[in-house]
């Protein structure tokens, strides 16, 4: 009942605001959606207590969904420790974002629709994290994708927003291509899609082979790689990350909720949830580590040079997701989920803070036209500092605990890929600190580069926007120190059976015994990064331009986001359109029709025109030809019999 309420209250809110929004009005929609999501958030606290602290995991069966042969999937709510953590993250950030949006969206003419989408998203995300089988997980997975599509394209009159929305959906679908095949493979191998049944059977399939696309491959490796492709799409990992920066076309609260705190972390959640499968697939774990590490460094390099405030934070999200993945890749799922947990708070804070900045600058997002306003919006300024300190991994702030344990676990894996992840992770940490403070300095310090008119209007956001930020700020400060002992401490009891790690995978254990230099290095590079940012943007503001000039090629490479979009445009978009046109004009029209019906039809039409003069109406033609058919048959029959 409790869990049912947590999951379905947001859905009720979405339906009420979505279908009856025109009668409820803006105010009514606010009350309904914010009220129900907040209720859901409050209920998730006792849920966390019962499940995570007291260890009462539970599976609530609702009703059957798809039953076909051996395949049985039900709607169910699986609430274990991992789910409980996600419930807290999703409902609390969602509630905060709902409240914040009342202020942020107050001029928008379509508020009921906006709040309906937000609540629907919350429901879909909750359905994802409470799934008890692969298919319901896929439901939540696609549901959040749909809401993301709708919310990115919320301002539907903007062509760029529409393009970004479609791009997000389709790139995600490329990932889902793998996910869907993965589910098929799971059912093919295990004859079930229920988590417990599958997890229980996994050890029996170690070192077995499956025939996939004509080759014999290791069963669990194939399945986990397919599923991981899905995770890469949703969590914007290298190669499938291109949609995330574009998704910033959506309203800023959406970026905070969906594209920072919750939806994009679904891939990490999936890998953690499926840890009983991934643990037995060494190759896939290696792949996860490499992909995560490469994403972390790639996104960080792009983040260095972007000028749009939201894009900087978007690339930072992409990079942090990379950290979470390589933590999972070295079997430190707990560390990955812990970073997911803290990241949700400080990244939502940064995004909403950025929203407050954008709000203050009358909609301006380009940092080159900001600056010099920290005295005018002190609250926002302070909150952005807290978010950046947490992201940069400065001691006592949340990110310090989670990022350090992730890096230490990478070191503690004592494997080649672990070392790679550690080195790239350390480099990315330095870059992270650099671009975070670059953002702070460009936005708030120096001489203002905004126009007089804009500067005149700069104002602090209303309380309905600031108060939710205070809540997130509390999370960004305390979430690390409070939960570190619980989530990644020496006592591993917290996660129960929800995360499975083979006894031979000791990265997390080793992490606790990391030498001092490993523990200190992230801090050293972070401080160096901050110092460099100070030097380049406060002390010597002319330096960045000169550097860009000196290293022109590299600068352009980063600025243009490693040219992924251009590459994909040529490889997929253009070629799909060209092939489509070719099939249509040359295939259907010229070949099939040309040699088929049109060729024949031109003959038939000649005859038919003559016949039509006698009698109009196609029934007669039809009957006539049927008759010919019968005659032909009888002739043939007689011929056979005659033989």
């Amino acid at each position: 009942m409790l869990y049912g309420l947590i999951v379905f209250l947001p859905l009720i809110g979405a339906i009420l605001a979505g279908l009856f929004g025109r009668w409820l009005g803006d105010r009514g929609s606010h009350i309904v959606t914010c009220g129900l999501v907040t209720a859901s958030a409050l209920l998730s606290v006792p849920a966390f207590w019962f499940v995570a602290i007291q260890g009462n995991t539970q599976i609530v069966e609702l009703f059957p969904w798809i039953i076909s042969g051996e395949l049985e999937a039900s709607w169910a709510l699986r609430v274990d420790q991992l789910t409980a953590v996600m419930l807290v993250v999703v409902t609390s950030v969602s509630a905060v974002v709902h409240w914040y949006s009342i202020g942020y969206m107050h001029d928008d003419p379509h508020q009921p629709r906006f709040f309906a989408y937000l609540s629907l998203f919350t429901f879909a995300m909750l359905a994802l994290v409470t799934a008890d089988n692969f298919i319901q997980m896929f439901f939540g997975w696609e549901g959040v994708g749909l809401c993301s599509y709708l919310l990115i394209g919320f301002w539907y009159h903007k062509p760029s927003a529409n393009a970004a929305a479609i791009k997000a959906f389709i790139v995600n679908r490329v990932g889902d291509f793998g996910f869907a095949l993965g589910i098929c493979a799971v059912f093919f191998v295990f004859q079930s899609v229920e988590f417990d049944a599958v997890f229980e059977a996994v050890p029996r399939f170690v070192d077995t082979e499956i025939e996939f696309l004509g080759t014999h491959l290791d069963t669990l490796t194939v399945i986990t790689i397919l599923l991981f492709i899905g995770a890469m799409g949703k969590s914007a990992q290298i190669g499938l990350h291109t949609w995330l920066p574009d998704a910033m076309e959506g309203p800023t609260p959406v970026s905070a909720l969906i594209h920072a705190a919750t939806m994009v972390t679904a891939g990490v959640f999936m890998v953690a949830r499926l840890s009983p499968m991934f643990e037995y697939a060494e190759f896939t774990l290696m792949l996860v580590t490499i992909v995560g590490a490469l994403t972390a460094i790639m996104a960080a390099t792009i983040g260095l040079v972007q000028n749009d405030i939201k894009r900087v934070i978007a690339y930072s999200t992409c990079s942090q997701l990379g950290y979470m993945f390589f933590a999972c890749g070295v079997s430190a799922y707990q560390a990955g989920v812990f970073h997911l947990f803290t990241h949700a708070f400080f990244k939502a804070l940064l995004f909403l803070g950025a929203g407050s900045v954008i709000h203050a600058f009358s909609g301006e997002q380009d940092m080159r036209r900001m600056g010099g306003v920290w005295r005018m919006i002190p609250m926002t300024y302070a909150l952005m500092w807290i978010g950046s300190l947490a992201l940069g991994g400065i001691p006592l702030f949340a990110g310090f605990y989670s990022k350090d344990i992730v890096l230490e676990a990478a070191w503690g894996a004592h494997s080649g890929v672990g070392q790679l992840a550690f080195v790239l992770g350390i480099m990315a940490a330095g870059l992270t600190a650099f671009y975070s403070w670059r953002l702070l300095f460009m936005t708030f310090h120096g001489h203002s580069r905004a126009s007089h008119e804009v500067l005149h209007h700069v104002h602090e956001s209303p309380p309905v926007m600031i108060v939710p930020l205070l809540f997130l700020a509390a999370g960004a400060v305390f979430a690390g120190m409070l939960f570190a002992p619980l989530f990644v401490g020496d006592n591993h009891g917290f996660w129960g059976d929800s995360i499975f790690v083979l006894a031979s995978h000791t990265a997390l254990e080793e992490a606790h015994h990391a030498p001092l230099w490993v523990k200190l290095l992230p801090l050293v590079v972070a401080v160096t990064g901050i110092g460099t940012a100070y030097w380049m943007y406060i002390a010597r503001p002319e330096l960045p331009a000169r550097l860009a000039e000196q290293h022109r090629e590299l600068y352009r490479f980063f600025l243009n986001k490693w040219y992924w979009d251009e590459l994909y445009d040529i490889l997929f978009v253009r070629s799909a359109r060209a092939i489509g046109t070719f099939f249509w004009k040359k295939g259907d029209e010229a070949t099939i029709d040309g040699y088929g019906p049109n060729g024949v039809a031109s003959r038939v039409l000649d005859i038919a025109r003559r016949a039509a003069r006698l009698q109009t109406g196609y029934v007669y033609h039809y009957a006539f030809v049927m008759l010919i058919g019968v005659v032909a048959f009888v002739t043939w029959y007689l011929f056979i019999v005659g033989m």
Binding site: I66, I135, V174, L181, D588, P597, Y622
Partner: protein, 504 residues
Amino acid sequence: MDWPILSTLTFLPLVGALFILVVRGEGDVVARNARNIALWTTVITFFLSLLLWINFDVEEAGFQFEERVGWIAEGIDYHMGIDGMSLPFILLTTFLMPICILASWTSIQTRVREYMIAFLVMETLMIGVFGALDFVLFYLFFEGGLIPMFLLIGIWGSDNRVYATFKFFLYTLLGSVLMLLGILWLYFQFGTTDIPELMRAGIDPFWQRLLWLAFFAAFAVKIPMWPVHTWLPDAHVQAPTAGSVILAAVLLKIGGYGFLRISIPILPDATVTFTPLVYALSIIAIIYTSLVALMQEDMKKLIAYSSIAHMGFVTIGLFTFTPAGVEGAIMVMLSHGLVSAALFLCVGVVYDRLHTREIARYGGLVNRMPLYAFCFLVFTVANVGLPGTSGFVGEFLVLVGAFQVNTWVAFFATTSVILSAAYALWLYRRVVFGELTRADLKEILDLNRREVAILAPLVALIILFGVWPVPLLELFHAPVENLIEQHEAALAGVRNTLNFAAAR
């Protein structure tokens, strides 16, 4: 049931058509009465079909509500009956008919009486084809259904209707003649055209292959499969809205139903022989037509191409001979029946207002038509196969079934996950989103009550069967299981004989 409910259901629309025929009076009065009679007839037929569902025993794998009366000759009886594979199609037909009549309420102004008669006759023929258990009877309904469709396109169609009608005609003719030959061969060989009896006939493998190809010609054109699909986009473009609805929702399904009812059970050996062919054509269809759909500039053509891609899923699923695959294929057909109908109705709504199907003429409709945008969105995501809509259940089951049989097939079929999203969202974006710029669109009105009444039940069913498809799935569990068992038994039988022959 001690009265022939199935025949009553089948011929009830015909009775309505007779009533319309005798209506006398002024033009307007005739039109009004014709519409009302047609609506009431189809509504009553729908409720009668629900009675069929209520009294249907889902545990029973065999035929129910059977009726048999002597007919043309010894062995060719009027034999009707349904099982769980035919009932949902009957329900689909009867459910969509009142919607079609309502959709034509104002858009058809010429020859209303003839139009309604054509529709009612078509309903009889469509229910008949799903209820027929005699091959000759099946053929009669199968072919007969084309005649009203020709008339609908030929008389009430758009500008280029003659070309479309002839194309439609040529293709279907080719298939039907071959099927007729096959039926007659069966009759002269076995002295019966009773479908259940033919399933037990055990036809010689060589002849099975010839017959299979003959029937394949008929069903592949109907469903349609690549490369005999090009009649469909033209027929859809030219047909009036309700004609497109019936064409996409029901007539295409007759092809799939034909495979299910005839090719697979009667010709098991040949079915296996030609399975690779079916896979190949289906995969080509999925990828090829999805890419073609991406480039279309006409709304109806785009949806027509997307239909062909979806039918590729149907043929793959049917020929996996796994429970998931076959049930998934049936589910895809049913879901596509709802979704494609809904999409064509959506085109009809704006076509009635602006009289163009050209995508570029629209844009920004959401500004004036939020309700329409919402319905269209539900149908679009159902077309994309989003979980939670009926579109997902079937496609997913087909993929599951395909993966069990051949991973290459599953791999290529799954590309539809990406391609369908591309063409469907691109259509939606161009029609619904964006700035409202054109002058004539600025006055466009949102759905009226009649249109809401048409689209709301479709929205509800698409979501209901997406979340809770069990009522449909349980209908065809037993017969599909039976079908697969018999298929395997038949194959084993053939192999045994062959082994025996080899041993001798």
